[in-house]
Amino acid sequence: MKATDTSTNTSDALVSVRDLRIKFRLDKTQSFEAVKGISFDVPRNSTVALVGESGSGKSVTSLAILGLLPPENSVVDRKSQILYGGRNLVGMSMRKLQKLRGADISMIFQEPMTSLNPVFTCGYQLEEVLKLHIGLSGAKARKRALELMDEVGIPDALHKINAYPSQMSGGQQQRVMIAMAIACEPKLLIADEPTTALDVTIQKQILDLISELQRRHQMSVLFITHDLAVVGEIADRVVVMRHGEIREQGTAKEVFENPQDAYTRALLQCRPHLENRPLRLPVIDDFISGRGPQHLQERPRGVVPGDSTILEVKNLGKSFYSREGLFGTREFKAVQNVSFKLPRGKTLGLVGESGSGKTTVGLTLMRLHEATTGQALFDGKDILAMSPREFAPYKRRIQIIFQNPYASLNPRFTVGQILTEPLTIHKIGASAQARADQVFELLDRVGLPEVSFYKYPHEFSGGQRQRIAIARCLTLKPDILICDESVSALDVSVQAQVLNLLQDLQDEFGLSYIFISHDLAVVKYISDQVMVMSEGEVVEVQNSDDLYRNPREAYTQRLLAAIPKGWHGAAAPA
């Protein structure tokens, strides 16, 4: 709370935000205060990280600096000040703001795929920026565009300048976005979660690129992220926000090494670390209540030879076919030759970058995709070869929790209906009353109040929805639970709670997990054994401690090296 005003003097700040208050009108009578009077500075030639979870007001703040808030329903308080070069951006005319945008202040967005116009070539879009803001034309604009593409590290720029966005990878698209943002030599670059949608190796490259450009062009960067670990390596100053307020701000060293605020400490420790594995992850409440983290003793992990196997997968393969020409088809092997054993009551982590086929493995085992080749022996019987009728009793024993808790619950059903449905379908429970009782028990087990039974999914937060999804799987008392990026869409603090819940359930019911994630730290925390996948094939399978300590394959080594290390001091075991 005590946002100690560390702004030494305004002259060396590029942007000073003073007492910024932003409200959103919800309807005629209600409004919601998204930002509650925050003040911070962005000094010249430095990187400031604005860190917070969803709903903290960090993105709203950045949009306010650019004057991009939707005018219909947002109100910036009149007394608020956003000073840039001595001028107040609040209340500045649209015209002047527009001039400032692009030329002095520019922005990179989270989703490169939707920020670029798919019907124009990247080169064209880059040249357009140069034409509009600098007045370069024709050959000059082209030359400059090539230089820019070179600068942001797009290989073979001469060729790629004529490529459409869809012909480039996500990382390359983000590079084009960055090239557009720095085209006019801005003094301030606002990067709103620029790496969240990218794979961990690409994330590292983009982070390196941004910090290099910052140094070379002597500009300031306002880096917005939900993940403290990401900014540890590149930020000079860190501002931590929560619920529209600044909880703490200071130099990166201060914030990471000696966090004053309980919330900052919580953010730093809720995330699983590669170095240690406590019995339970600390959650925000532990810190806010001043109790401090509990159950920090190390949890032993790993598969021992005596473990019995519940699921054995042999040579699993899945191909997708696309039509080519009149009669031809082209085969795309999403997954090939995947074999592993899942020990009873243990967790197998499945890591890989996007397109590695890890999700396909999960869906194929659920028979949500038809497998092309291979066997999956569940208690010795091949569930992939069964007819749908034979498979039905096995179906309830394998369940899946999806990535997006906003999409995996039917918005038209109440939670009660969602949770009762599987029981009804499989005719579990003697009467409607018995089923309802069972549902109430489960709600209690996953930590939701009984009233939830009557509510609709849209009334819950992301973490709560994921609990509902977990409860739905548990109604069928499965043996195997496939978690497909189940915590990736959640905030750091909520992630810890859900991981703890999954761990408790495994301890209690002896569930076996297949835990699919791109987040190596999370996989390390929850898994006994880790399987690394790349381009549809298994790279290596090892006990998780062994894998992280000494990875055998070059690909695994690269993957591990790309994990954001955070601040070195903070990463040490607590």
């Binding site: 009804t424 409607a432 009233v451 609709y456 009334e459 799987c473 069928l476």
Partner: protein, 397 residues
């Protein structure tokens, strides 16, 4: 299947006594948004008024006597006053006709071509009295509609007292036979709106069913329906209507409903197929698969409620379109039978009347139709906004 749905629906019947406020469902939230939209509420009131009107007319509480000839021919609207120039001859001819009809047909139905015939006869043989002409054998061959008229009269039964005094003006004028245009419009609304809504329901039902099957199952089912759709949409629309009309052969409201319903499903099909393609890959449907829900259950219990707003909007768009189509059909002569009135048949009559300067029937039908169609369209727009708030581009964080 059915029992599953039933238990699901009743699942919310407080299985445990917990004090809880009733949570707003997505429908409730949409209704709340709709209530804040003033245009929507006004247009909904107008549509509601129309529906009430046709309900009253369908139950026979109002406008059941629309076919009675209560006024003189082309009686002008009251606010214009009686038509001074034609008042005397009109009254005379009414009396004359009344006598003739009373003596010959005992019917309230007048030969619609009588005037024309009289005129023709007048030119040819000025001495012939009109009553004799209608009754006498030599002229029967001249009247091409005599048989039909006889049929109609027989079918109608002989009822009306004929010697009733005819008003010189009517609230909103009278038509050629002196029938009250206001009542005619009300009765016409009943037909037009019924046809519009019934055929919209039929078309939406077909489109939704086909779209759901094609989108959900994909593969050859999808191919089949797509071929069907392509064939359907490759035939010019009017030709298709004429073809269906020719196959069905008989005239009547049900026929029109079938014609419009059987030809109008393709738009809904395309949309719903797209929605199902999108939704079947959604995680909540995969989750339903994972817990063992059957195909039908996934299609109609899980996905359908989530696309039902699209269906609803399509239904109201089609209702508007079909109300207009009915007019075109009636205009082309495939519309309602002669003993039924609709806006289309009124407009059809109006084209001849307009030459004589009798504009009120045209105006009455047009105003009624324009009001309803505009209100309905505005309501549909508002409905779409309320059901899909993302469309309005409200950015909220």
């Amino acid at each position: 299947m059915a029992t599953d749905m039933a238990t699901l629906a009743t699942g919310a019947q407080s299985p445990r006594e917990i004090p809880h406020t009733v949570s707003p469902s997505l429908w409730t939230l949409a209704w709340r948004r709709l209530k804040q939209d003033r245009v929507a509420m006004v247009s909904m009131a107008i549509v509601g008024a129309f529906l009430l009107l046709i309900l009253l007319s369908a139950t026979g509480l109002i406008a059941s006597d629309w076919s009675r000839e209560v006024g003189v021919n082309y009686a002008p609207p009251t606010f214009m006053g009686p038509d001074a120039a034609s008042e005397a001859p009109a009254a005379q001819s009414a009396v004359a006709q009344g006598e003739t009809l009373a003596s010959t047909y005992h019917s309230a139905i007048v030969d619609p071509l009588a005037d024309v015939l009289a005129q023709i006869r007048g030119e040819a043989k000025p001495a012939t009295p009109p009553g004799k002409g209608a009754e006498a054998t030599p002229d029967a061959s001249v009247d091409p509609l005599a048989d039909v008229m006889a049929d109609i009269r027989a079918g109608k039964g002989v009822t009306a007292e004929v010697t009733e005094a005819r008003a010189t003006t009517l609230p909103f004028g009278g038509d050629k036979w002196g029938r009250d245009v206001l009542k005619k419009v009300i009765k016409g609304s009943e037909t037009s709106i019924f046809v519009g809504i019934a055929s919209a329901i039929l078309a939406t039902f077909l489109g939704t069913l086909f779209g759901a099957l094609a989108g959900y199952y994909g593969k050859w089912v999808d191919d089949f329906f797509n071929w069907f759709y392509s064939v359907f949409s490759s035939i010019p629309y009017l030709l298709l209507i004429l073809a269906v009309a020719a196959v069905l052969k008989q005239k009547g409201m049900i026929t029109i409903v079938l014609i419009l319903g059987l030809t109008g499903w393709s738009g809904v099909f395309r949309l719903i197929r797209g929605e199902y393609l999108k939704h079947k890959a959604r995680e909540y449907v995969q989750a339903a698969d994972a817990i063992g829900a059957s195909n039908l259950r996934r299609m109609f219990v899980h996905i359908f409620p989530n696309v039902s707003h699209v269906v609803l909007v399509q239904l109201s768009i089609l209702a508007v379109a079909f109300i207009k189509s009915e007019v075109i059909l009636s205009f082309l002569g495939f519309g309602v039978p002669v003993d039924v009135v609709s806006w289309g048949s009124m407009l059809n009559e109006a084209q001849n009347e307009l030459i004589l300067g009798k504009w009120w029937q045209l105006v009455a039908a047009t105003v009624a139709m324009a009001t309803l169609v505009t209100a309905f369209s505005l309501f549909t727009d508002a409905l779409r906004d309320a059901l899909d708030p993302k469309l309005k581009g409200q950015a909220g964080h």
